[in-house]
């Protein structure tokens, strides 16, 4: 009966949308490193903890105030709730129940409630035994103010801060990464302290002016000396004791420098990934951005243009020199291998990246990055650079949307320039928007004044605009002359006066920027107003 109820609840929870929504909400709030909610929650918790610590410190010297008591209770409530919620989101117990139940059904054996409970409890214990969960629990203790010894657990409340601050967490990570070296050092230090304490105790015990009356005094002197503090309240008087002091001082210098060097090395190693994670955090804040793989001459040129237009982008390159340069220019940059899945995922290829440019000088790498990117994200736009003709098709096969050959492009422009220098200058001027003349597309949206209108009725000449043509994938237009295939669509050059525009068509217009803008807004306005009315 009980087991039936349990299975029923498990299936109910599995099907319940609101349960899942609630769980996702709390996951975003407490644990999801990419969520905004967590950032706000962390900041709020830091403020709470600091306030509670200040209150507890105030209470050490003053009478406990009533208001302080209420506040402490409120904080306690928040902490307890947080503790329990974290336990809740840590595992999905109902999934374990379902899994066990289905297994039992499949194997045609009895569904044993005990095994399920054992698994669920084991999973829960895994959480309650984790480092942070223990700190969370201990941090609750100082709230019990009537027992003043529990105040010492304020320290754990301070430790709790680690949870909410990434830099503090990073410090812990750095120490953890050098666990072996630090442990070796600790053993060595303990050994030294032991020898020195015993020796000084043997030499100086009960000597009037040296102040060593027991083994603890000897230990205290050793630590004070080893740490190069040397208060001077205990000083060795015998020759033997002084030799011990000399020996200890020399050793302590070595131990301290060993300790410092371990820390520096650990931070040095961690620095790269630290910087990287900062970059990832920064990227997470953008609504959309472009990933540039390869920061050579081409990459620099693109970055310069994007920066000028305040477009967000990130540079990924293996070479330290290029990354250094990118950083000097104030760009976001990651020094890593862009062909690795992990690097691209961290950079946000599956989340907010809108385009990726594979433009290193090596075609092999470009193909590989293109393939990786397409594999990770089906919809992202990939523009790749091919340095050799024969690799163009390979890049398209790998999933690139556009492939560009630097030498071909340059050769093409050179040819245009050799043929028609003035006309070419003018066109490249428009394309690069050097003057206020621009070539732009105006979309014919449904129910706009352009929809179902003949070209002849647009009086573009009056508006000082030149219509070059219409881009469309509408098959209605196929009967017209002068069509050129442009990818999956057609470009209708110089369309006749009776050409009827359809929704989805794009007019290619040459004219002054504000002229085009004015035309576009006039064509869009009635439609938007109409929408507002309905």
């Amino acid at each position: 009966m009980l087991s039936k109820l349990m299975v029923f609840i498990a299936y109910y929870l599995n099907a319940s949308d609101s349960y899942k929504k609630a769980k996702t909400f709390f996951y975003d709030l407490l644990d999801n490193p990419h969520s905004r909610k967590k950032r706000i929650f962390d900041a709020a918790m830091i403020v709470l903890i600091v306030t509670s610590i200040l209150l507890l410190i105030y209470d050490v010297e003053h009478e406990s105030s009533l208001l302080g008591g209420y506040f402490e209770s409120a904080i306690l409530l928040v902490f307890v709730l947080e503790y329990l919620l974290r336990g809740w989101i840590y595992s999905d117990s109902y999934k374990i129940v379902i899994e066990e139940y289905e297994r039992a059904l499949y194997l045609n054996i009895g569904f044993k409630i005990a095994t399920v409970l054992k698994r669920v409890i084991r999973k829960d214990l895994e959480y309650f035994g984790s480092y942070f969960a223990i700190i969370d629990l201990l941090a609750l203790l100082p709230s019990y103010r009537s027992v003043s010894i529990l105040r010492i657990f304020i320290i754990f409340r301070l430790f709790k801060l680690f949870r909410y601050s990434t830099s503090a967490k990073l410090f812990a990570d750095v120490l953890a990464s050098k666990r072996f070296e630090l442990l070796t050092l600790l053993v060595l230090t303990c050994f030294m302290v032991f020898i020195a304490s015993i020796s000084i105790y043997l030499f100086e015990y009960k000597i009037e002016s040296s102040n060593i009356w027991n083994l603890f005094d000897a230990f205290y002197w050793t630590v004070v000396t080893l740490a190069t503090v040397g208060y001077g309240d205990i000083t060795p008087q015998t020759t033997g004791g002084r030799w011990v002091a000399i020996f200890l001082i020399l050793v302590s210098l070595g131990l301290l420098s060993f300790f410092t060097s371990i820390l520096i090395a650990a931070f040095g190693e961690k620095m790269l990934s630290m910087r990287e994670s900062r970059t990832y955090e920064e990227l997470d804040r953008y609504a959309s951005f472009i990933i540039i793989c390869g920061f050579g001459r081409v990459g620099k040129e693109i970055a310069r243009h994007l920066q000028r237009e305040r477009q967000k982008f990130v540079v990924i390159d293996k070479a330290e020199r290029n990354i250094l340069l990118a950083k000097q220019l104030g760009y976001l940059a990651i020094q890593n291998d862009a062909s690795k899945n992990e690097v691209l995922i961290n950079a946000g290829i599956c989340r907010k990246a809108s385009d990726i440019l594979c433009i290193t000088g090596d075609d092999v790498i470009n193909v590989y990055i293109t393939l990786t990117s397409r594999h990770l994200n089906k919809n992202i736009r990939i523009i790749s650079r091919a340095n050799r003709h024969e690799n163009v098709n390979k890049l398209y096969q790998a999933g690139a949307d556009n492939v560009i050959l630097p030498f071909e492009v340059a050769g093409m422009l050179a040819a245009e320039f050799l043929g028609q220098p003035v006309a070419f200058e003018a066109i490249s001027g428009i394309l690069q928007e050097q003057r206020d003349i621009a070539m732009e597309t105006v979309l014919v949206s449904e129910n706009s004044p352009l929809d179902n209108r003949q070209i002849g009725q647009l009086d573009l000449w009056q508006r000082k605009l030149t219509l070059l043509g219409v881009i469309s994938d509408n098959t209605v237009h196929l009967k017209h002359k002068n069509k050129y295939k442009v990818k999956h669509r057609h470009f209708y050059f110089n369309p006749a006066q009776h050409f009827v525009l359809r929704a989805g068509d794009m007019l290619v217009i040459l004219g002054r920027k504000y002229g085009i803008e004015h035309f576009r807004s006039q064509m869009e306005q009635p439609r938007l107003l109409g929408k507002a009315k309905t």
Binding site: I290, G296, R297, V298, G299, K300, E301, I302, R304, H305, L306, E309, Q311, L357, I383, R385, N402, I404, P406, F407, E408, V409, A410, G411, A414, A415, E416, F417, L418, G419, Q420, P421, V422, A423, F424, E425, A426, I427, Q432, I437, M439, E440, T441, K464, L465, T466, I471, N482, Y484, K485, V486, K487, F491, F493, N494, V508, L510, G511, R512, G515
Partner: protein, 234 residues
């Protein structure tokens, strides 16, 4: 017929030569490396060996006389600078276009007398940026004007006594008569700069003006023929 001398045979100059209309241009490739010359000849390109450091050799191939345009496409920036300097000294009016490898070389080449600098990496960067910003327009140009499709830009000069003389731009109506679009006009008397039709007030055409038109090559040829035909009137 325009006479173009291309110095240096490589991927870039090959692409450029391939795209120049052979009917209106005489193209010859020169290089000082025999391997490059062999490669060019293999592809059926008119090529010859030359020592570009010698002024006499340059004169012998027509620089200072028959060559209208010089395309410096040698591998080293220093070589291109040297060639530009030599050629400019021989001919003040020669049109010189040069390729650069290192961006620092641009100023040096301009100082040496080049008319136009082409930086392949810069162009490629701009192009990718264009693709990001205006994919439709970039695609359109890649497939038509710059691509293999037959849609070209052309410059047509208004000769003396043609039917174009004293015609207002608004009366021209090239789009109905010829299936051509008039993009801009260069008024040679004022400057070499092109004025877009779209931004201009209506004006009369004078002999010597250059019309910049866009359209299929057949239409361009027909238009050029009519323009140069004194008796044609439409």
């Amino acid at each position: 017929m325009k006479n173009i001398a291309v110095f240096g045979y490589n991927r870039l100059s090959f692409e450029a030569i391939n795209r120049i209309d052979p009917e209106n241009h005489i193209i010859k490739v020169y290089d000082y490396k025999s391997t490059n010359i062999d490669l060019a000849l293999e592809k059926g390109i008119n090529a010859a060996m030359i020592e570009f450091r010698s002024d006499d050799d340059l004169k012998a191939i027509g620089i200072g006389s028959s060559v209208d345009t010089l395309f410096c496409c040698l591998d080293e920036d220093s070589e291109n600078v040297f060639l530009t300097l030599s050629a400019r000294a021989l001919d003040k009016n020669l049109q010189i276009i040069a390729i650069i490898e290192n961006p620092e070389a641009a100023e040096k080449l301009l100082a040496a007398g080049a008319n136009k600098i082409i930086d392949p990496y810069q162009i490629c960067g701009r192009r990718i940026h264009d693709m990001l910003k205006r994919p439709d327009i970039t695609d359109l140009f890649d497939h038509t004007v710059f691509g293999r499709n037959d849609l070209n830009l052309a410059e047509v000069m208004v000769p003396e006594n043609s039917f174009l003389q004293d015609v207002y731009v608004s009366q021209l109506e090239l789009s109905t008569h010829y299936n051509l679009i008039l993009v801009g006009i260069i008024n040679k008397q004022i400057s070499d700069q092109m004025h877009f039709v779209a931004e201009e007030v209506d004006r009369k055409l004078n002999p010597g003006d250059i019309l910049v038109i866009l359209g299929p090559s057949r239409e361009i040829r027909a238009f050029k023929k009519d323009v140069n035909d004194e008796f044609c009137n439409i």
